[in-house]
Subunit: 329 residues, 2 copies
């Protein structure tokens, strides 16, 4: 295993310490129990947004803590859910009279632990489940996974909370964004979890994994390596069939790198995905290209489409000041 690492046990804290030092104007890292929060409490009455999940997806979620997005993020060990005491401590630290909205990606461990934390929390709270991965059918097993659409949800709900939406309104907005957002990914390589020390799955030099998750889970289908146009066609067709954007529908197109794929290729994927929808008369109104929801050192990417309306556009454009997303301030 080739990584910049001292020990598997110290990796997370050393990394989070560096993160908090590099962004000391935005975040504070609480080591015990682990959470990252804004350096200053949000204004009284604002809904506090808390997310979290296994580490290894950076910048998600710690990189989204700050003005206009999250109030706190709870990082678990690599690809491992954070524990309820982390979520509870984060909630107690950042709740400021507006209640807490937990934003949870749809994975068994995350869901269970956020539910326990919610039960223990003696403040108004709600939970919002993100399940944007359309690579698997909606009602199979645990249901759809939460993947790169999470960035969009956290940005828009974050702006809503900042602008005064109450707890119920934040949750309702978040559910609407989730309903209007679909993602699908593809891996060219596996990834190596430090504690495991070798790639999670084997994949041949001429194979790709379609519909891959963000934890090195196998995907929907193993297929032969084909041209970028053919790969992108698989992703965008599946998403298009799910969301069925109408002509002139404004959308946000997000191409997300899974970790080891160069920006040069991500922009090429973006170009091809954009072409697909533009040919159908869909309006690409907003775009986001880069590594946001990663899977350690996996080569690959995902495409996310979100059907926008005026409110969503306004919330997307609203000022944000986090380590990973920053504009308007």
């Amino acid at each position: 295993m080739k990584k910049f690492i001292n020990t598997v046990d110290s990796l997370l804290d050393e990394s989070l310490s560096g993160f908090a030092q590099a962004h000391g104007d935005i975040v504070h890292f609480n080591p015990e129990p682990r959470y990252v929060s804004r350096i200053a409490l949000s204004r009284p009455g604002k809904v506090a947004l808390i997310s979290g999940g296994g580490s290894g997806h950076e910048p998600l979620h710690t990189g989204f803590v700050g003005f206009g997005m999250l109030d706190a993020a709870c990082p678990g060990q690599v690809f491992t859910s954070p524990t309820p005491d982390q979520m509870l401590a984060a909630a107690m630290a950042v709740e400021n009279g507006g209640g807490v909205l937990f934003i949870v990606k749809n994975y068994a461990g995350d869901k269970m632990n956020f539910e326990i934390a919610a039960e223990l929390l003696d403040r108004p709270h709600e939970s919002l489940l993100v399940h944007d991965d359309v690579s698997i059918p909606e009602h199979q097993g645990m249901g759809r996974r939460g993947v790169a659409g999470t960035t969009l949800v956290e940005k828009m709900v974050g702006a809503a909370a900042e602008s005064g939406y109450d707890l119920a309104a934040c949750k309702a907005l978040g559910e609407r964004v989730v309903q209007r957002t679909a993602s699908m990914g593809v891996a060219l390589s596996s990834c190596t979890v430090p504690a495991l020390g070798h790639p999670t799955f084997a994949i041949g030099e001429e194979e790709i994994e379609l519909g891959v998750g963000i934890h090195g889970e196998k995907g929907r289908e193993r297929m032969a390596l084909v041209s970028a146009s053919e790969i992108v066609e698989h992703l965008v067709r599946t998403i298009d069939q799910e969301l069925k954007p109408a002509k002139a529908q404004p959308v946000l197109l997000h191409v997300n790198g899974l970790g080891a794929t160069p920006l040069m290729e991500l922009y090429l994927v973006y170009h091809l995905a954009r072409q697909f929808w533009e040919q159908r008369g869909v309006t690409i109104a907003r775009s986001l290209v880069g590594n946001f929801t990663t899977s350690l050192d996996m080569a690959g990417c995902s495409v996310t489409l979100s059907l926008l309306d005026e409110e969503m556009i306004r919330l997307w454009d609203a000022p944000v000041h986090t380590a990973a997303l920053r504009w308007g301030c």
Copy 2:
């Protein structure tokens, strides 16, 4: 070779088209000859900053075109210098009465082609050479390579040009920033140039390449894979011996990913590098962590240190609005 690619010949234009589409509020892509420029001319009399180099280092340089940084960037094929006609066309398009400053990374091809373009350009112009890579001795061969320090130079000189510095003052500032900036990199893997189709150099499962360049050139020394602390120690000691920062000296610490290394590891490297200088009483005043000067799909990173003064801090903090760096606007 596993990449998102249609053909080797079309990769660059497909990628640049996607880049320009995703950032249509900031840049325009001229396909023939290839350059990326701001969508609007800068104010009359502003020094026009133009950089460029081989592609495969994204977001450098195209991602730095925009308010507060470059006026234009000229992308060559992967790891291949752009041609003089690109630079000349870019200069003619963006020069607006303040003359042109070419910012050139110290590589033979780039240097030669920018020199030819400068000779052909019938407008006031100067060139600034970036050579921040301290992994090789100063007067060996072509001299030191321009690597991740380029981001700092383009940001600070960009802010200076925006705030009214004239051509001579921009060049003088740039030379000062270069003198006060040192970088060194390390690779855990090689990278694969699309036209070649296989990794540029072979490296064992238990080996790393110290002092690597950003084109898959071999580095200064092949050594055994050791702990992150030991690897970082090699980088920061070499940089420290070069710059000899005094106690209380404010510095900018930049940890740059070479492409395939997760953010989690980059923050860990940042933490260790920061610790080294903090223990020596140096003040880490500004930080930048992420993929800025990449080498395609190479796993690895570089550390850059820059000795700051008040003017440099002011220029670093000044508003910038590009695809890759954005704050204050």
